[in-house]
Symmetry: D3
Subunit: 136 residues, 6 copies
C-alpha cells in the first residue's frame, strides 16, 4: 500500500474507533512524547494495517479486543476499546455478553473488572442504568 493511502486509512479508522464517546488520551499521544517516529510507525502498523483489515468486521474486531484485554486485566486499554466498540455501534449488552463469556476462561474477577469499566463508561455517557429486560 502506498504511504499516503495508508496514512488516510489510519486516520479514518482512528476516527471511527476513538473519535467519539468518552474523552481519553489515546496511547498515540504518549508514544509521540517519547518518540515521534516510533509513534508514527506503531500507529500506521496497528491502526492502519491491522485494525483497517476487513476479514472480520470492525465490530467483531472490537469484541475480540475486549475479550483479550479483559482476560489479561489491562483495564486502561480496555476502557479505550470498550469506548471504541460503542463508537462503532456494538450494543452495550453485547459488550457485557463478551465479558460474561470470558469469565469461563479468565475467571470471574476478570469479568468483574470488565463490567466495572463498562459501567463507568456508560455512566459517563449518561447511558446508565443499562436496561435489564431486553436481552435473552
Amino acid at each position: 500500500m502506498e504511504i499516503a493511502k495508508l496514512k488516510e486509512l489510519t486516520r479514518q479508522t482512528a476516527q471511527k474507533l476513538f473519535g467519539g464517546g468518552v474523552k481519553m488520551d489515546p496511547p498515540f499521544k504518549l508514544w509521540r512524547e517519547f518518540n515521534p517516529q516510533l509513534a508514527k510507525d506503531l500507529s500506521l502498523h496497528i491502526t492502519g494495517k491491522l485494525y483497517s483489515r476487513t476479514v472480520i468486521t470492525i465490530q467483531e474486531r472490537q469484541m475480540v479486543a475486549i475479550a483479550s484485554l479483559a482476560s489479561m486485566g489491562k483495564t486502561e486499554e480496555l476502557k479505550l476499546h470498550i469506548n471504541g466498540a460503542l463508537n462503532v455501534g456494538v450494543e452495550p449488552h453485547k459488550v457485557a455478553e463478551v465479558l460474561y463469556q470470558i469469565s469461563t476462561y479468565a475467571g470471574v474477577p476478570a469479568m468483574n473488572e470488565g463490567l466495572t469499566v463498562l459501567k463507568d463508561i456508560l455512566v459517563e455517557l449518561n447511558k446508565w442504568p443499562i436496561s435489564t429486560s431486553d436481552h435473552k
Copy 2:
C-alpha cells in the same frame, strides 16, 4: 428455565460446538471422572446457560473464546474452541484474523501459539495449506 429444557439446550449446543471436526476428549469427560455431580453442574452452567445465550451469535462467541484463550496461552482449551469455531462455520481466515488482532494486546508469541494450534487442526482436517490469496 426448567431442568429438562436446560439439559436439552446443553446437549444441542455441545453437539453444535464439539460434535464434529477433530477428535478431542471434552473437559466434561475429565470432570466426570473426578466428580459426576460437579461435571453435570458445570456443563449445565457453562454450555447450557452461557454458551446457549443468543445476545451475541455463536460465531461471535467462538471468536471471543479464541481471543481470550490465545491471550492467556491456554493452548489445550484453545484447540477445543478453534475446532468449535470451525464447526459452527467460522472461516479459518477469520480465526487467523482474531489471532493477528490479539498480537497487539497479548504479544506476538501468543499469536504464534494460536496460529500453530490453528495450523495443526487444519492439517488434521486435511484443509492445509490454507489459501493465501482470498483474504484482504
Copy 3:
C-alpha cells in the same frame, strides 16, 4: 439439591463470608445491575454449590482463594476474600503466611500487593499494627 435448599445454603455461606468486617460491595450487586438472572445463576453456582462444599474447610477454602487471587494480582477480589477469611476466623498471621508462601511461585511483587491489601483491611478494622512476636 432442591432449589429452596440451595438458596438457603447460598444465603448462609454468603453471610458467613461477606456479612462482616470491612464494608465492600459484593460482585453480586454489579452482576444484578447488568443481568438479574445471570447474577442469580452465578451466585447459586459459586456460593451455593462451590463455596458451600465441605471437602475442605471454609478456612482452607479462603486460604486457597487468597493464594489464587494474590498470584494473579486480582487485588479487588483479593480484598473481598481476605475479609472473608478474617470473617470465618483465619488469623491475620495465617493470611500473611499464605502470601509469604506464594512469593516463591508468583514473585515478590505479588506478595507485596497481597500484604498491602491485608494491611489496608487490618487498618480499617483497627487491628493494625499486627503483633510481630506471636508467630513462629
Copy 4:
C-alpha cells in the same frame, strides 16, 4: 538460626515433601548444575526458612502452593507440589477440591490443567480411578 540447624531442617522438610510418591527431578538438581552456591542458598531460603515454618500446617501450605501454581499454569512445578501434598497426607479429593475452587478465579482451563496433572500422578501411583462417591 544457626547454619547446621537450618541445613538439618531443610533436609527434613525436603524429605517429607519430595521423598516419596512419583519420581521427579527436583529443581534443586537443575540449580546445582548451573550454580552450586545459588542452589544451596535457594534451597536453604525456600525449603529451610519458608516451607519449614509452622504458622500454617504443611498440608495447608501444599494446598496454597497448588492453588498458586495451578492459577498460573505452571504445570511442571504443580506436579512436584501435588506429589508433595499427597506425600504429607492431603487426600486426593482435597487436592481436586482446591482445583475446583480456583476455577472461579483463574478460569476453567486452569482447573482442567490441574486435574490432568493430578490424574496423571494418581495413575502413576496406581491410585486411579479416584473413588467418586466418598466426597460431599
Copy 5:
C-alpha cells in the same frame, strides 16, 4: 560469605539502587511491619546475594528487572526499579527502549503502562519532557 560482610553488601547495593531519585517506601518497610525476621532474610537474600552479583552489570540487571516487571504489569514494583535504573545511571532513553522492546512479547498495553510509569518518574524528577532528538 560471612554475615557481617553480607549485611554490608546488602546495605551498599540498596543505597545505590534505592538511595536517590523519587521518594518511595521500599517493600522492606512493609515486610518489617509484618515480620522483622522475614524482612531481614528476604533483604539479605534478594539485595545482598542476588542484586549484588556481578555476572551482569547493575545497569543490565535493572534493564532486566524493568523488562520482567513491565511484562507482568507490576507497576508499583516497576516504579521502584525504573527509579533504581536511573539511580545507577541508565539513561531514560534506554529505559524507554526496554519498554518498546517488550511490546513485542507482552503486548502494547504493557509497554504503555511502563511508559506511563517512566513519564511519571521523570515529571517528579523535573526531567520531563524527555528530549526527542538524541536517540537512534
Copy 6:
C-alpha cells in the same frame, strides 16, 4: 527510512540473531504460510525497525527479550531468543544470571522453565555441562 534500506537492515539483523546456533523454524515461516503480506509487514516492523535500533546494544536487547519471555512462560519464543543471545555473543552465564534475576519478580518456576530451555540449547550445541567455577 526507504524500503530497500529497511529490507536490508531486516535481513542483516535477522542473520545476526537467528542465522546460527540451534536449528529452529522462525515465526516468520509460520506467518508466511498464513499471510505473506502480514509476514512481511511484521518482519520489517519488528526485526527491521525495532530490533535494529541501537539505543541499547543488541546484547542488552536479547537479555531484555529473555527476561520478558521467561517472565511470561513463553518457552518456545524464549528458545529462539536465548539462541539469538548466544549468537550475538551473550555468555551462557549471563543468560543464566538474567533468569536468576527474574525469579524474584516472576517466581522460581519461571526461572526453572528458563534454565531448562537454556540447558537444552547448550546440550544441543555440545556446550553442556556449563562450567560452574568462572562466575562470581
